[in-house]
Symmetry: D3
Subunit: 136 residues, 6 copies
């Protein structure tokens, strides 16, 4: 149960700005499936457009980081933030981009280890080593 | 200022279990530098050994995820958890493993976008789409 | 499914301290509805009384921040902390205090943007500008 | 100490895309001061432009939420996320937009109370009341 | 719904490494019940073994902190991290180790108060008193 | 650098409500030292009184959880929330209440392990076992 209305296709079709974004999502992803996140954002069409625009620029466009690595980073942030929906959607996306079960298992190990050492470092309040400083 | 003592090399050398781990860190990394995290963990030699053992198995050993991607995932978790020391140390490690400025910039974009959409999804309490479910 | 018992009205009525708080919640809110949070806290009557006392002083009493803004701030904290129940209850409260759909949409934009820039600032470890310092 | 270079004005002036954003920040805020956040983002000019564009649309443009409330919400998210820099910069912004000491004090009370009840709700795993459900 | 397969007993029995860990969990806990966490970790047998090994060393072995206190600390971390499953499993474990309802109520008070003062300290950005510094 | 003024003793002495709380802190703790947290809260005397009142009831009064365990739980929450000041002040308090170095080391192990398994459970989205359900 969401705190906002999730737009149906019929509602989206009746609103040109929302329809334009949904159409672009479908065309970009070559799939008819528009997931619930976008159906919730549709309540604020300008916001929907802005978030989709960013996602397209950052996650879809060609870049110096490969698509699977991007999804792994997204999963990592979502786990640390405890965003259940995001973990589900980006794990599905990572699998669609070729993540094997072995890679998934290793990704979990890294996330778990980072969670552990983050807690240890914070509990000990370790000061940053001079060697890690960025030189102007 | 830490909440625990940070062991000097002289103190580590005088304690065989701690010395063995510090020696292995140096040999594994081919560097004389032992960063403060390990100097704090040294207060509990069994714990020091366990954490280093895990880190070596997960981050150093050959695996299906390349070393730079591992560091990017580590940075992502550390940012979402707000671990300042960890962000510094793993950003330095990622650079040492070849992360370019362009890749660093893109990594930041992904982390920022994930932070944003995590907050939006949580605020809207979006239900998980049936399509994202794992089949037994 | 909770980790504590949720008190029914019958159970609350049989316990004078709990009954007194439930009665005050109903009188203050001019509604018969007592939500599950209070039914869980009832297991520790002194704690129930303390938390309700604070909430009344901070959220209900007249103050220099208007009631709708208070709810928006509450939602913002709850989202960043990932408290699903709290997001639901305070979104409902904000709507009861007049939050329009347009305001809800803008609130979400602000929360999402703050989530994004929080992650970026943390990832870059930006030092605080001297201009932001409070003068004694 | 940041993990990225903080651009000086001279460096920004030498890069047209960065200069254009810095100029717009100064014109919009009617102040010569460009804070460190933007100097860090300047390393990725497209990202700098995107984030500033969003901030202008969400935080600066006229809307249904008043400017001071927006800053209070921003502070609330930043506190829950533990973003020290963001707390400093948005507290300064809130004061510049008229937040009184009394309002600041009350804002802190609300944020603290929300932090407390978020933890209590999560610890008790309170189920969402049917009354809080959004009707389609 | 998990993002990984949860191993049945039949599947575990067919895989010697997984079976060995499940057998040890059962023997150590003197119970036939193996909870879902281990059934998810089973997808990566080396990881399963490593995590169980740590848990046994830290949570099961004799030590200077009593078993109930250990569970209370575990609950506290899990609440602050918003890990619903972990709150359920460790609250059950604490009860099995003798936590009374009164103790549970007090534990919740402490966790709630810590959540509140953590938020207040962070919002005010209180500097650490010199008296709290660890002496070399 | 705080976002609020930290009250000196002279300022506190000149304000009866603040003085009363500072006097009680000193009498209760049998020490002249009043740490910065209270000096920041003094800006809102009613809030100062409320928070100190709670802390006294929860952390100081006799109860079913011993004083050292309370501090360990407080540290655990503060680490997971990344509250640096709180970690320093409650680690100092735990030591003052008798926490040995061995206990401190074990506390860190538990917090680190909880951080790790919290991340793993969240990443795998493990469903709660029926056995963990509270019976009404």
């Amino acid at each position: 149960m969401a705190t906002v209305k999730l737009w149906t296709d019929a509602e989206a079709d009746a609103h040109p700005e929302v329809k334009a974004v949904f159409d672009d999502i479908r065309a970009t992803r070559k799939s008819d499936f528009v997931n619930n996140f976008w159906r919730g954002l549709a309540n604020d069409p300008a916001h929907l457009k802005r978030i989709w625009g960013q996602l397209k620029e950052i996650m879809v466009a060609e870049s110096t980081i490969d698509p699977l690595t991007k999804e792994m980073v997204y999963i990592a942030v979502s786990v640390a933030n405890g965003c259940s929906y995001c973990i589900h959607s980006h794990t599905a996306a990572a699998k669609a981009k070729g993540m094997t079960d072995a890679q998934h298992g290793e990704l979990l190990s890294i996330i778990g280890l980072a969670g552990q050492t983050n807690h240890l470092v914070t509990a000990m309040q370790i000061p940053v080593d001079a060697q890690f400083e960025v030189k102007g």
